[in-house]
């Protein structure tokens, strides 16, 4: 770390964002444990640097697509955590009006076009969003985040090839936490991985330590500017999922001690250390962390009290022609 170039305010903010993501997810896990989140949630604890380092570089008008593990990305793109928590609890006021839940979290108002329940499906959709941007001549980029497991699905090839042919403004980000659900992704992935695959499709691509928020930030900034000039690129971020696949997964399939060992690379702790070296006090950093926790705890409290959407809402927003409100059967 080059201290003279180190932008303390920026990384203080990034630290804050990482703490907020973690606090949000801890509150969400609690909500799940208390049976207030009824569907599955996929926490990103341990992967916050990827979310913040990437999404911290996006403008509001830029477009983001995410995965089933998308709380951090969504929050960092500017979505209101209260609306997100309400959505996780299936309550009125949720981003998706309670229709989507965690796996379909989205906030189109801030350019976040959705988490997706189908691994890899967001790649094609992202490419199409970028295609529209190009057709309309808009100055926006699309960032499409997917997991290491997604690179084994057809859309990875079809979408990246497409983006390159039409020279579309998309940054593909492979957030590689080493696992595809309970499977070690390397056991099901041949070849050298996402960078090599992207390069074979004509994209420039690079790998970074996904737990180093500064490195992710710098790489993203650089790649986004290249995306604007030269079309699609891929960023591969190596990270680790500190918890289970879902919040209720004990993740016993991992070698003993693996996760414990990885806590030493916790991106939040690493950022904290950096900020301390850069002169921030322990107190200041702890304050940030505690403020994040109390923000998200408060959000959870308020979400608990909210009402479920009325059953009649089930019939809205299906379609205009053939609307089920006039013909549901």
């Amino acid at each position: 770390m080059n201290k003279t170039n180190f932008d303390r305010a920026r990384y203080r903010h990034f630290y804050n964002q990482m703490c907020r993501i973690r606090a949000f997810e801890r509150a969400a896990i609690k909500a799940k444990d208390e049976n207030l989140v009824l569907g599955a949630i996929h926490p990103s604890i341990g992967q916050e640097a990827a979310a913040v380092g990437v999404c911290g570089n996006l403008r509001r008008e830029d477009i983001l697509l995410s995965t089933h593990r998308g709380h951090g990305h969504t929050l960092c793109k500017g979505a209101d955590p209260q609306a997100m928590m309400l959505e996780l609890l299936g309550k009125t006021g949720g981003n998706c009006g309670g229709k989507g839940g965690s796996m379909h979290i989205a906030d189109f108002g801030v350019g976040m076009l959705g988490a997706n329940g189908v691994v890899g499906a967001n790649i094609n959709i992202a490419v199409g969003a970028a295609h529209a941007i190009k057709l309309k001549g808009e100055d926006k980029v699309v960032t499409c985040i997917f997991g290491d497991g997604a690179i084994n699905r057809g859309p990875f090839l079809e979408g990246l090839n497409w983006a390159k042919i039409y020279n579309l403004p998309v940054l593909f980000v492979c957030e590689d936490n080493g696992y595809s659900a309970t499977t070690n992704t390397k056991d099901t992935t041949a070849g050298a991985g996402p960078v090599a695959r992207a390069q074979s499709l004509g994209l420039e691509a690079e790998s970074r330590d996904g737990n180093d928020v500064v490195g992710v930030d710098i790489a993203t900034r650089d790649l986004l500017s290249r995306v604007k000039k030269k079309g699609p690129h891929l960023l591969h971020l190596k990270t680790y999922r500190l918890g289970g696949h879902t919040s209720t997964d004990p993740a016993k399939y991992r070698p003993d001690g693996e996760a414990d060992g990885k806590w030493s690379e916790d991106p939040i702790a690493r950022c904290r250390d950096m900020l301390k070296q850069a002169g921030l006090t322990d107190e200041a950093l702890t304050d940030i962390e505690m403020a994040a926790t109390s923000e998200m705890d408060g959000i959870y409290e308020r979400a608990r009290d909210a009402a479920f959407p009325p059953a009649a809402n089930a019939y809205t927003d299906v379609q205009d022609i053939g609307d089920p409100r006039s013909q549901a059967f």
Binding site: G98, A132, K136
Partner: protein, 324 residues
């Protein structure tokens, strides 16, 4: 009023919408060379290669990217080449396009048209001949349109492009060269309205797409035998015009549904069930379906013809049904 083929009418409808609305564009394989049947002939010259876009053989990305492009405010018209190849992009259509608006609580709109040339075409065998319209009627969020005439292929396509929902638009490959009158000044044609193409009092025949023409032929033959059949072209399968069908059945008491798709779980079953549910007291006979047996489609004409419903089969079924 002009005479046009079904193919030309579809092309004219697309061109007209592209002139009216700069956000409309089309994408698919070989479109720059007119598309596999010539439905896009000349359009790249007029609209350029951005708006008539040639794609790789990537059905999953053709359809999936259209979802993203639609969410971002364009109106993609997706060419699937053969309805059968759309099976390479079912996640994109069913899990993504159809559900996005709902799943995201109304934040997304997915105004797109998925053109899927459908149905049998001489000796194209099991992977180039399928009629899967009933699948799409089963999926919330989708509109399903199946034009039978040149005029309908122009105006229903235009209306489908204007529609804010994802529309599965199934043209029939055997109709491409069918000629018919197309009115230049027509009022718009609403999606969801059936057409009573031939009024009659003795029996209702409901059909759509290519089979509608067989039904009309059959009605002409029936007329020579003093049977006055009412023939309805359903035009749109979702939403479908049950009022039109039910009113007809209330009048005739007999319903015969004719379609090209496999009978088992075809859309005829839905029509039959709804009519029975709503007009039980009016029915003089059980609604009948005339459709394909549950077998794949063969290449050799002798065997292929086993899955083709002919006008004479319709006549026979009609006569049996009304008990003549």
């Amino acid at each position: 009023m002009k005479t046009m083929t079904y193919l030309e009418a579809g092309r004219a409808g697309l061109a007209e919408m592209m002139r009216q609305d700069g956000s409309v564009w089309a994408l698919g394989e070989d479109l720059g060379r007119g598309g596999v049947f010539g439905q896009y002939h000349g359009l790249q010259d007029e609209f350029g290669s951005d708006r008539i876009a040639d794609t790789p053989i990537s059905e999953s990305c053709i359809l999936g990217s259209a979802v993203g492009a639609a969410m971002m405010g364009t109106r993609p018209v997706v060419e699937m080449r053969f309805a059968d190849f759309a099976l390479c992009a079912v996640d994109e259509l069913v899990n993504q396009a159809a559900k996005a608006r709902y799943m995201f609580g109304g934040q997304a709109r997915v105004p797109m048209v998925v053109r899927e040339p459908s149905g049998m075409w001489r000796s194209s065998a099991a992977q180039h001949s399928q009629s899967l319209e009933s699948w799409y009627t089963h999926i919330p969020g989708l509109v399903v349109v199946m034009p039978a005439t040149p005029a309908d292929n122009k105006f229903l396509l235009m209306e489908s492009i204007r529609c804010n929902d994802p529309v599965v638009y199934l043209e029939h490959k055997d109709l491409w060269s069918l000629e018919g009158p197309v009115d230049d000044q027509t009022e718009t044609l609403p999606i969801g309205k059936a057409r009573v193409a031939r009024p009659g009092s003795d029996l209702t025949i409901v059909s759509w797409s290519a089979m509608f023409h067989r039904a009309l032929e059959a009605a002409a033959i029936l007329a020579t035998q003093n049977v006055d059949a009412e023939v309805i072209d359903l035009r749109t399968l979702w939403p479908w015009d049950r009022q039109c069908v039910c009113e007809s059945v209330q009048k005739t008491g007999h319903l015969l549904i004719v379609h090209e798709a496999v009978q088992v779980s075809g859309f005829g079953a839905e029509i039959s069930s709804v009519v029975t549910e709503n007009c039980f007291g009016d029915l003089k006979s059980a609604p009948r379906r005339l459709a394909a047996p549950r077998i794949p489609i063969s290449y050799a004409p002798t065997m292929e013809d086993e899955v083709r419903v002919s006008a004479s089969q319709i006549v026979e079924a009609a006569l049996t049904q009304i008990g003549t």
